[in-house]
Amino acid sequence: MYTQAMDTMAREAKGQVQAVKSAEEQAREAAFEARIDAGEFIEAKDWMPEHYRKTLVRQISQHAHSEIVGMLPEGNWVTRAPTLKRKAILLAKVQDEGGHGLYLYAAAETLGVSRDELLDALHSGRAKYSSIFNYPTLTWADIGVIGWLVDGAAIMNQVPLCRCSFGPYARAIVRVCKEESFHQRQGFDALNVMMTQGTPEQRAMVQDAVDRWWWPSLMMFGPPDGESVHGAQSARWGIKRISNDELRQKFVDATAEQAKVLGVTLPDPLLKWNAGRGHHDFGPIDWDEFWRVVGGHGPCNTERLAARVKAWDDGAWVRDAALAYAARQATREQAA
């Protein structure tokens, strides 16, 4: 999900010419590949091929951007949560997402790129974030469904990355995943209360939210494997260990069962258990919608980016003040 860069960059990479490598370069690369094959972690100070560095910066920063843009749809309900307990849970959750953004920007910075540069790429539209956050949160049930499905899909996607070859990213992911599973349980719990103790109106609200978020959640795993050209090399580097379709299948299998427990219907008439495969079959995903939203034409793309840019621009004088003060302090200390 948060790793969608890996999928969309494949389209952009087509047609790029591979430069000829020197013998020395080839040897270094072979040694690097051998370390990866041996399951060693690559650390920031280690030599790495430029393409590896670039791919990681792109993936980690997209992940970080997704965390902070993801604060917006949920932040939309912080001031309207229906009980004080839910308000506290939601505010803490959104705060966690900010924390994920911080660890991930820090991991990307170890690769020699600053947070400001990465944010500039986000604000100028050059960098992407997960397209799931371009959908609106219309009712309170959306908050529960995001926890259940979106955090759920994020975990499914990210757990394999705990073994990613780049140490700082792998370690950040371990922390992130722990909190994401907490978020998923809280989301499920919020929905469960509405379904089991709620009014018919509340149950309808949950069903409506599930109807709207189900397909976008499946899209979070990225395009089908056939269209995902980058797969092989990223898999070797452990940046992406399990294919999009495999992860999506795992997610469908897990959530189909959870939907039964909740008593909601997943909006797919073709969804059914296939004993022969040992998996659930499910209907076709509207990939045109996916590419449309990735390409900027989702319901909230403009608003989400504008909200981030506004927060950044409105905060410029605050950051300038902090820098000016720090510089003045440094001068004073030198003088003293």
Partner: protein
């Protein structure tokens, strides 16, 4: 079930507790409005953190008020089913966030007071209030440190940040007097050692904020006129808008369980 207002038996102890609970909820809510829109990610985290502290204080105080009142009210009914005229928070805390300077000055004025106040309240003869005070004091100390640092950075930062911080001080100053007021309802609790008299804390509060404001190269207004009314439900126009957002769900779905 109705989404209309609850009625509250405002005995002195219930009223006292609701006033502090409302302070914490309203300021916590204001801080939560920043969520995702702060000048930097670290401040998104810090503002949410302080908001969560205050929300936690509010929940404990509301629960205690419900227990003391002994009717079927609870934390959510107090928060979601009282209207503007039933809210008892300080006017300072309902003032809109404005820019970051205004949010920080509001936080600074209040935390400098709350930190002193809760510290003395730790000696309350009411064990529950003393326990809440102990927790709140720790949290306020952090809020004070955080906001003081920002007052200094903003005041002694750039020309623009200095101007904005000074404007925030000038605007919010008139709301600070209310923190030190006592009415008859509270006087009895003070005499019984349950509550503390905030009036004698004013000198210490002044000393604290004067130090920070001076370091920030800012100034405090000479203007002695002070706004009041929050403690008896005479609020600014801002509170109604805050409540209409805060309360929209329980008002729309009466009797629902979330």
């Amino acid at each position: 079930m109705t989404a209309g207002n609850i009625s509250v038996s405002e005995t002195p102890l219930v009223l006292y507790t609701l006033r502090r609970a409302d302070d914490a909820l309203i300021l916590g809510h204001r801080l939560s409005e920043w969520c995702g829109h702060a000048p930097m990610l670290e401040e998104d985290m810090a503002l949410a953190n302080m908001g969560l502290d205050l929300l936690g204080q509010a929940r404990e105080l509301y629960s205690y008020a419900a227990k003391v009142e002994g009717r079927d009210n609870d934390e959510d009914k107090f928060a979601y089913l009282r209207d503007v005229r039933q809210y008892r928070n300080l006017l300072l805390l309902e003032q809109p966030n404005g820019d970051f300077a205004r949010t920080m000055v509001r936080q600074f004025f209040y935390a400098a007071f709350a930190d002193l106040y809760w510290r003395v309240m730790m000696r309350s003869t009411d064990a529950t209030l003393a326990a809440i005070a102990a927790k709140s004091e720790k949290e306020s100390a952090y809020h004070l440190r955080h906001s003081s640092e920002w007052i200094v950075r903003l005041g002694d930062g750039t020309e623009e940040s200095h101007r904005r911080a000074q404007e925030a001080i000038d605007l919010l100053w008139a709301f600070t007097g209310e923190m030190f007021e006592v009415d008859d309802s509270e006087r009895g609790l003070i005499d019984a050692g349950i509550a503390v008299d905030p009036a004698p804390l004013r000198a210490q509060w002044m000393k604290r904020i004067t130090g920070v404001v001076a370091e920030a190269t800012l100034t405090l207004p000479n203007n002695g006129w002070m706004q009041q009314g929050g403690r008896s439900g005479r609020h600014s126009e801002h509170l109604g808008h805050l409540l209409s957002e805060l309360q929209s769900m329980p008002r729309t779905f009466p009797g629902a369980t979330w």
